[in-house]
Subunit: 300 residues, 2 copies
């Protein structure tokens, strides 16, 4: 199976499970809550790449974990990612009309409903992780360990602080320190958490965990830098959102600070190191190696 | 110790623990996140009664639990309650300028920051519950059970659906069914969850849990109806927010449907039943009995 087929296969596994969690039949009193479920489903099925959940189940299965056990955490992390996008797009934050080629949640469902749909996805992420952990009493400490990684990476010492910094700097150019902080926390924190939550669901050596952490950190940052590059070089068709929006919003980015060529070189170096970090896992890491390399070539 | 002293004592225990969780020293990179921590603290220390956390620790200690073990869940439920208030007050929801006599969060910190502060409190609630559960490996299944009650009561099958229904009916009079739904979910769900999460942290008989559930349901609804009554009969000084706002927003309420006298009678009946439900707990339930009776007489 080539990389693309293998990625699609894992994507399908994730999508089926998310579909199960968000199946309309799971919800009570639909006469009241139909609209919010529609809003939650709208953004959850708006064409996300599923990078974070795929990383989580792939690291878990690489250390001989049964992905049946990690799928709930994988879907939860995608829900957390999606809630953060819905809230980031709001008029009082980045004020974006399009995301992935579709109208943003608040453009379709209104601002109040978009805020609640985000809240509901964040809450549901924890609900399904808690419920899932109860099914594995023999591995419950590892479950809580992985859940703690996800929660601390999502909160005010993690992802949220990146968004706080981002909105604080709107309309002013910022120094490199702040840029790295925003990148590191707004996007990379959750990518790294996906990697760690996956591998730490099993009992593995601390050295292997360090290697996974290095991989997660590097691809998280590389992923964000390619995002910035695509904002300049990409097209609306590829990206599904307006290009040049970072420049319009006067956002500092790697390409703006370093130019496109040097930014691409930074991405290449990060990916080379990430691939290096996978070495102790041997050929079981094939898929994750190809996934890292693919980040260099991504078009959306 | 009379009831008021005992209530204040428990309130102080809760407040000290919340202060510990939200102590500025717990947070990293304050140059970026100082503002959101200020926003979180602003609403967490805006004079809340701490009803939910007090219910949680009181039910837990009534069944011989050590409140050191339940305090994290108690603070978490107050964080969830507070996040829901911050988001409910937003311009795209209820658009309230005052709460508990103080400007609402978005009036002080701006809309974007208020949304993020709410998100951060919701996330932090889970972070501290997960972290706390890891400290009690011998009671971890009960912890997850209580956490699951809290999460499912807070989500789209619980509290959030009440808010969805509430904003859907704005500006139109609604039938009793919908009113009861909004009351039941928007407010009472989390009050009931506080009771159940507290008692179910220990291994107790199913019959006692049923009694606790009855108590939680009744005081949850009674609490909400007195809220509606106070919106008509109270003063700004007592309530800390504009009175008559329900009528202004054309909100259906018990007093509007039944009149004030009948509404008060309903509250009395609910409290009588709640006190009745405590009987199997004997005199250990003294505090909770007085707490229920106090709901009838509350002025804010």
């Amino acid at each position: 199976m080539n990389f693309k087929e293998e990625y699609l296969k894992r994507q399908n596994i994730i999508n089926s499970k998310i579909e199960k969690y968000l199946n309309i039949d799971n919800f009570d009193h639909l006469n009241y809550s139909r609209k919010i479920i529609d809003a939650m489903r709208y953004s959850m099925f708006a064409g996300g790449k599923r990078l974070r959940p795929i990383l989580l189940i792939s690291f878990h299965s690489m250390v001989e974990g049964d992905i049946e056990e990690s799928l709930a955490l994988a879907c939860a992390i995608e829900m957390i990612h999606t809630y953060s996008l819905i809230h980031d797009d709001l008029p009082s934050m980045d004020d974006d009309d399009y995301r992935r080629g579709k109208l943003t949640n608040h453009m379709v469902f209104g601002e109040g409903m978009a805020i609640l749909a985000g809240d509901a996805l964040l809450n549901m992420a924890y609900e399904i992780m808690i419920d899932n952990a109860r099914k594995y009493p023999n591995n419950i400490c590892n479950h809580l360990r992985s859940m703690y990684i996800i929660s601390s990476s999502s909160g005010v010492n993690g992802m949220i602080s990146g968004q706080v910094a981002d909105i604080s700097y709107q309309d002013e150019y910022i120094e490199l320190d702040a840029l790295e902080f925003i990148h590191g926390y707004k996007t990379a924190a959750l990518i790294k958490a996906s990697v760690l939550a996956g591998i730490m669901l099993e009992d593995v050596d601390r050295e292997l965990i360090s290697c996974a952490r290095k991989y997660g950190e590097n691809i998280g940052l590389a992923f964000q830098i390619t995002d910035d590059i695509l904002d300049i070089t990409g097209s609306f068709e590829d990206l599904g959102k307006k290009v040049g929006s970072d420049q319009k919003n006067k956002k500092n980015t790697y390409p703006l600070l370093y130019g496109i060529d040097k930014s691409k070189k930074i991405v290449n170096d990060l990916i080379t190191e990430a691939v290096e970090a996978l070495r102790p896992f041997g050929e079981k890491a094939d898929f994750l190696e190809r996934l890292a390399i693919n980040i260099i070539n991504r078009q959306n």
